[in-house]
């Protein structure tokens, strides 16, 4: 009994508690439909923030393309779900879609990693930034349809597909994919979040994780003791991309229309995810979850302030940033923490 619960266990407990509270409120009908609609998005942003934190916090490489990994995960899983909509029950279809989304995102992470992770410096940031934009633009220009003759693809227009009248569009250029079955719900999202947390926290505490962190802390020292730099960098980055892919699957399965627009998968979104990670604490996995959830919910919950909401939101961002990083705030926090520790510590020992 004396064994203290470590931080990662606390994270799981808090996540499950939040889920339980939400479920009880939902059953009791005390949850507004506005808030119910926000639960899944808040969770998938939390998941992608966990993914990015592995890359930024554990691996120490900056990625500005995590929205791109979300995007490929979202589109690939969405295509699968639409194709299998009438053929498989949801209990089989969604897990398969999830696996496909994760696999495709991981594959892209791997492909990008091959050239870039051999280099040192900020190249990954540049390449991932480009990757996110390229993926978005390709998907925006892609027309994909299916008819009795098979698949048709074009980069010019719907007309250029030359489909039969019985054909259906799968990806309709800028209109994207519509009609994805809405398989994701809050419970599923929380389960995926828990899995992502489990993967992330176990990675950190494993032999591989320590190797990855040694690269972050001192590459030359790590290399000198025989750590395979490229291998471990790749491992961290692919896991990070895969988790972002899982978030993408939730994204596409929680809303019926999916478009590769800038407002969903542009670099601004990648930076938004980075903001979640930075404000939650770089390398602090549970902090990412919290920051993503709070910062996603905040502008929505401020709707009552109508036009002022974005102003308040940005002020909150600045305030959180100062609270986290300003020296004065950190000193104050340390002081408060110390005094709390004293009082709490005494009580517990008594």
């Amino acid at each position: 009994m004396k064994k203290k619960l470590n931080k990662s266990t606390w994270t799981y407990i808090v996540v499950i508690l939040v889920w339980a509270v939400v479920m009880i409120l939902q059953q009791a009908g005390a949850l507004s439909s506005h808030l119910q609609g926000l639960l899944v998005p808040a969770t998938y942003y939390a998941i992608v923030a966990v993914g990015l934190n592995i890359c930024v916090g554990i691996l120490g490489e900056l990625s500005l393309g995590h929205a791109g990994f979300m995007c490929v995960g979202a589109f690939s899983s969405s295509l699968f779900s639409i194709a299998m909509q009438d053929k498989l029950p949801v209990g089989i279809r969604f897990p398969l879609a999830l696996i496909i989304g994760i696999a495709v995102a991981a594959l892209f992470g791997f492909l990008i990693g091959i050239p870039v992770l051999r280099l040192n410096g900020d190249y990954l940031a540049i390449v991932t930034l480009a990757f996110g934009e390229i993926i978005k633009n390709i998907l925006n220009a892609l027309y994909l349809g299916v008819d009795s003759h098979g698949l048709h693809a074009s980069f010019t227009s719907q007309m250029a597909l030359g489909m039969d009248a019985d054909g259906t569009m799968l990806i309709n250029g800028p209109m994207g994919i519509s009609g994805t079955p809405r398989d994701a719900n809050f419970t599923v999202a929380i389960v995926i979040l828990l899995i992502a947390l489990f993967v992330a926290q176990n990675l950190v505490n494993s032999r591989d994780g320590r190797a990855i962190m040694s690269i972050r802390d001192n590459r030359i020292a790590a290399e000198s003791v025989g750590v395979n730099i490229t291998h471990y960098k790749m491992l961290g980055f692919v896991v990070s991309a895969a988790i972002a892919g899982a978030a993408g699957v939730l994204f596409s399965h929680s809303i019926s229309t999916l478009q590769a627009g800038s407002q969903y998968f542009g670099y601004n979104v990648s930076i938004l995810i980075l903001v979640y990670v930075v404000l939650g604490g770089i390398g602090n996995i549970s902090g990412s979850v919290l920051a993503a959830a709070v910062l996603y919910l905040l502008p929505e919950l401020l709707r009552a302030l109508s036009s002022y909401r974005m102003l308040i939101y940005s002020i909150v961002l600045i305030a959180v940033m100062l609270f986290n990083w300003a020296p004065a705030a950190r000193n104050w926090r340390a002081k408060v923490a110390a005094s709390l520790k004293k009082t709490f510590g005494r009580k517990e020992r008594a």
Binding site: S157, T257, E300
Partner: protein, 414 residues
């Protein structure tokens, strides 16, 4: 440090839970637009006593219309136009005794041109007790929201969602023309009025609206004997420099440039065409509406630009003049076509609600079922068409009008 984290995480978890609970209460009726004063007073009382309840039946004696649109960001002109015009229409209706004797309340929510946010807005409005949805203003958002309204069987009338899929469900109707319709009508108009033979198109390939119109325009142009000499695209990420597209149109010898795009980009295209001394006829669709109010834009460049839109603010009929005056008095701005669509939309809701004889105590789903049939039976004389009727598949039937910009104002072309 571990303990600090523990404390921190439990505190924040508690605050998240508190925010969640607070969210329920604050979502009802805080930014409600005031209706006629008496009704507003009773409603205010009602919304405080029933703040926690999201039950529509409980809100009782008023009809509630919700508006969703981009009130901030790049497309804000559309959203605010719709919200403002809907407000004018609702105020008029309330002053006139309301719908079936019940006063009408209006609430507008901002979706910032984002699908997910649009759905969030819809949920917010649903909590507020909305019975009719006027929105979303833009196509993609409208499609996303229509999935929700279809699930809830909520009556949806989009003022300006022009993509085909916006009205694919039987509970959804629209006021504006659909994209294919606009492309076809534009090509027909150019062909019939012999405006040009060589046509260049500059469109936004990343935009649903723009590429939708382009597709049908190209198809119909062939029938009208129009020569498409240049078809160049840009995307949402590269919409500041159009010199290469404009140069291509010029080199191809186009005497008309078709711009099925929004006004912000069109303003830049006009400037850049002028700087290379290229002066063809510019022809656009309803997205160009609003070009005269772009900041820092030399409106003399827009002289002679034609656009196919169902509404011209200078029209001489009494209804338009009354609306434009009311809009100018209230907001100090000339209303655009989106505003006109919204105004007609509110009156269409009124006409259908009266035809179906619905009352606010009916459930959302019952109202929707009654409205679905009534919409196909009404005929309103509105700003954007006289008469406007609706088919069961949600499309309006009305005549398009072409507008030309003359001396810095929109003037009917005919």
């Amino acid at each position: 440090m571990k303990r600090w984290n523990k404390i921190m995480s439990s505190m924040l978890a508690a605050s998240v839970a508190a925010m969640a609970l607070a969210g329920c209460g604050s979502s009802s009726g805080s930014s409600t637009t005031a209706t006629s004063s008496a009704a507003a007073a009773t409603e205010a009382a009602a919304s405080t006593t029933e703040a926690a309840s999201s039950d529509t039946a409980a809100s009782g004696e008023t009809f509630k219309i919700g508006v969703i649109g981009p009130l901030t960001g790049g497309a804000a002109q559309y959203g605010t136009g719709v919200a403002n015009a809907a407000k004018i229409a609702v105020d008029e209706i309330n002053a006139d005794g309301g719908i079936n004797g019940y006063q009408v309340e209006l609430q507008s929510e901002d979706d910032a041109l984002d699908n997910q946010q649009s759905v969030n807005c819809y949920n917010t409005l649903k909590d507020w007790g909305m019975q009719f949805l006027l929105g979303s203003v833009t196509s993609a958002c409208s499609i996303a929201v229509s999935e929700e309204t279809h699930n809830d069987n909520m009556f949806q009338l989009t003022p300006s969602g022009s993509a085909v899929d916006c009205v694919k469900y039987d509970n959804a109707f629209r006021v504006c023309f659909s994209d294919p319709n606009q492309g076809t009508k534009s090509a027909q108009y150019i062909g019939e009025h012999k405006l040009a033979t060589n046509v260049a198109i500059i469109y936004d390939s990343s935009d649903v609206y723009s590429s939708g119109i382009t597709n049908t325009f190209v198809t119909e142009a062939a029938n009208q004997g129009l020569n498409i000499v240049s078809q160049t695209a840009f995307t949402a990420d590269s919409k500041t420099d159009f010199s290469s597209q404009v140069q291509q149109a010029k080199d191809a010898g186009a005497d008309l440039v078709f711009l099925p795009i929004y006004y912000t980009e069109a303003a830049l295209i006009l400037q850049q065409a002028n700087s290379i001394d290229y002066h063809p006829t510019f022809f656009g669709c309803d997205g160009l509406d609003g070009i005269l109010s772009v900041e820092n834009f030399d409106t003399s460049l827009a002289e002679g630009v034609m656009l196919l839109t169902p509404f011209a603010a200078d029209a001489s009929d009494e209804l338009t003049q009354k609306f434009v005056k009311a809009y100018k008095d209230a907001y100090g701005d000339t209303p655009n076509q989106f505003a006109a669509d919204a105004y007609d939309g509110v009156y269409a809701i009124k006409a259908a609600a009266e035809k179906a004889n619905v009352t606010p105590d009916m459930s959302v789903s019952d109202i929707c079922d009654a409205m679905k049939t009534a919409m196909t039976e009404i005929s309103i004389s509105g700003l954007t068409g006289d008469p406007i009727t609706w088919t069961a598949d949600g499309e309006p039937e009305k005549e398009p009008k072409a507008v030309v910009i003359k001396d810095g104002a929109y003037v009917s072309a005919d």
